[in-house]
């Protein structure tokens, strides 16, 4: 049951073979058993979950059910959830019970999907290993000595261990795709502006985007149908016709042009990852696709550009955490200024403080042009490379991360080494393009390997089509860690 797809679960609910309460209880039981070793959840509240499930059962009984009514979902602890502790992985929000629902949460509630709890994450979504969480590192379900990736590491691990059939994540520089790759699941970052950021605790507002995480592409398509849509409460939300992201899942791939950026297969890529990605290309060719050699020359600069722009936006966004209106306040201080400085020194972890300081510096007088403006100009060059590439291909394919999961603690003392993990994922955020990761194999250590697809603006349905067709002929996405079945 815990390996069933969302559409299979929905069919069983609709056919009254199982109730939403029973289904929620099944996952809550798995959380009770497995979470102590994985630490994927920060907050679980069985009573609230079962109440929401009972409400879903009433809807089903009354004939008011939507496609996913009664199917439970786990939410990243970055989404404000009315009445639930919402920590964003930080001590700063250790006592923050959100007074309202994020737009994404409103949508899943309206769809009748009970929440299984709030998943662990890197503090304020800043990290690629989930080790910066104030609530402890998440362990990779494939091998608990390894990281699950980040920042949506709790979400990815909860799905890999089948503690949840679906989860929400957010992706600023790869935070959905990289943990999806490292945990062997499927995750999609939509085109910037498709999913409302209202109530999603801001890291870098021009890059942050929420998206679905689940075992398979078909599940992600159903979740995307729930999540997307215009929201007047987000000034960057796009006013577009509502799409059905499942509409192209079953289209054949005949004639599909897959762009292979040579920079994504260059030095620095692990051999086993390269071999698995190349094998996936061979599969797609068998399904009728052709390949095109492309270049994303400026993507080499994505990391330096990102580590100017994201911290700059973060230093502004995180100025709201000052100990006045909510969250942590230092117990002792001598003045208002001292209260701010002590609250922020004690409430933020080391990585968050580093990024706030980088941001404060690059925005400060005398440095703005050399750093911030230069980074914004190169951002344009990176986006232009993609625009040129999409003239000759329909979808871009490469590895999601340069390697598979690394050991806990292996990179946590070296920020730069950690940042290099997001080499292939950051360019899509800078350009605002949709990207997804899907499982395409395992290395000799038994750790999952992720394949990345980047599509043109608003081409989610096509990317999901490619991923679904690949998943029809492979079973990497259906595999589960031994011992956790």
């Amino acid at each position: 049951m815990s390996n069933a797809s969302l559409s299979a679960l929905a069919a069983q609910l609709a056919g009254r073979q199982i109730s939403s309460r029973e289904l929620a209880q099944l996952y809550l039981d798995r959380i009770t058993t497995l979470n102590p070793a994985i630490n994927a959840f920060i907050t679980v509240d069985a009573e609230k979950t079962l109440l929401e499930a009972a409400a879903a059962d009433s809807r089903i009984a009354a004939g008011n059910a939507g496609p996913l009514t009664g199917v439970p979902i786990a939410h990243k602890d970055i989404f404000c959830t009315d009445g639930w502790l919402t920590t964003c992985g930080s001590k700063m929000l250790h006592n923050f019970v959100a007074p309202y629902d994020a737009h994404v949460i409103q949508r899943f509630k309206a769809a009748g999907m009970p929440s299984l709890g709030k998943t662990n994450m890197d503090e304020f979504a800043m990290g690629s290993s989930n080790e910066t969480s104030h609530y402890g590192a998440v362990k990779n379900p494939w091998n608990t000595a390894y990281v699950p990736g980040g920042s949506s590491g709790g979400a990815a691990a909860s799905i890999a261990a089948r503690m949840a059939p679906a989860a929400t994540g957010t992706d600023t520089g790869g935070s959905i795709r990289q943990p999806a790759a490292l945990c062997g699941i499927t995750g999609l970052k939509p085109t910037y502006g498709l999913v409302s950021r209202y109530g999603m605790i801001a890291f870098a507002s021009s890059l942050d985007q929420a998206g679905p995480m689940a075992p398979a592409a078909e599940d992600c398509a159903l979740l995307l149908n729930v999540m997307t849509g215009f929201d007047p409460n987000d000034s960057t939300s796009l006013e577009r016709e509502k799409e059905d992201y499942t509409r192209d899942l079953n289209r054949p791939l005949t004639g599909l042009r897959v762009g292979l950026p040579r920079e994504f297969f260059a030095e620095g890529l692990n051999n086993e990852v390269a071999a698995a990605v190349e094998a996936a290309v061979t599969e797609l060719k068998k399904l009728g696709a052709t390949t095109v050699d492309i270049s994303l020359a400026n993507s080499q600069l994505a990391i330096p550009v990102y580590y100017v722009l994201a911290p700059a936006e973060a230093s502004s966004n995180l100025s709201r955490f000052d100990g006045v209106r909510y969250g942590y306040r230092a117990p002792e201080y001598t003045s208002l200024d001292d209260m701010y400085c002590k609250t922020r020194a004690q409430g933020f972890g080391a990585e968050v403080k580093r990024r706030i300081m980088i941001g404060a510096y690059v925005l400060s007088h005398g440095y703005y042009d050399a750093y911030y403006l230069q980074a914004q100009k190169i951002r344009r060059l990176i986006a232009d490379d993609f625009n040129a590439a999409f003239k000759v291909c329909d979808v871009i394919l490469g590895p999601t991360a340069p390697g598979t999961a690394f050991k806990l603690g292996e990179k946590s003392d070296d920020p730069v080494e950690m940042y290099l993990n997001d080499l292939y994922t950051i360019p899509a955020n800078l350009a605002g393009l949709p990207g997804m990761s899907l499982p395409c194999g395992f290395d000799t250590k038994g750790l999952p390997i992720g394949l990345q697809l980047v599509g043109n603006y608003f081409s989610e349905a096509k990317m999901l089509n490619v991923a679904h067709q690949y998943q029809r002929v492979t079973d990497w996405h259906a595999r589960q860690p031994e011992g956790l079945k």
Partner: protein
Amino acid sequence: MSLSTDDVKRIARLARIEIDDVQAQATQAQLNSIFELIATMQAVDTTGISPMAHAQEVYQRLREDAVTETDHHAAFQAIAPAVENDLYLVPKVIE
């Protein structure tokens, strides 16, 4: 370019983050390695390139100037560290 410990303290001050000498030294080394990485973008000629602030070329929407929100102050202040008479309390700033 290389940041000194004093630079680090000045930046921490700008960011309103208390930092002691030991922390400033550790942070200095890390920030310098990050800025070394960032410096690679300085070599790029960006003459004539317009900065890209946002992924979508969209403009701020305007709406009717009307009250749309209801009063939530009780709920919002219930989670504040210190409140009195519907006001957020902070240390005295005016003598």
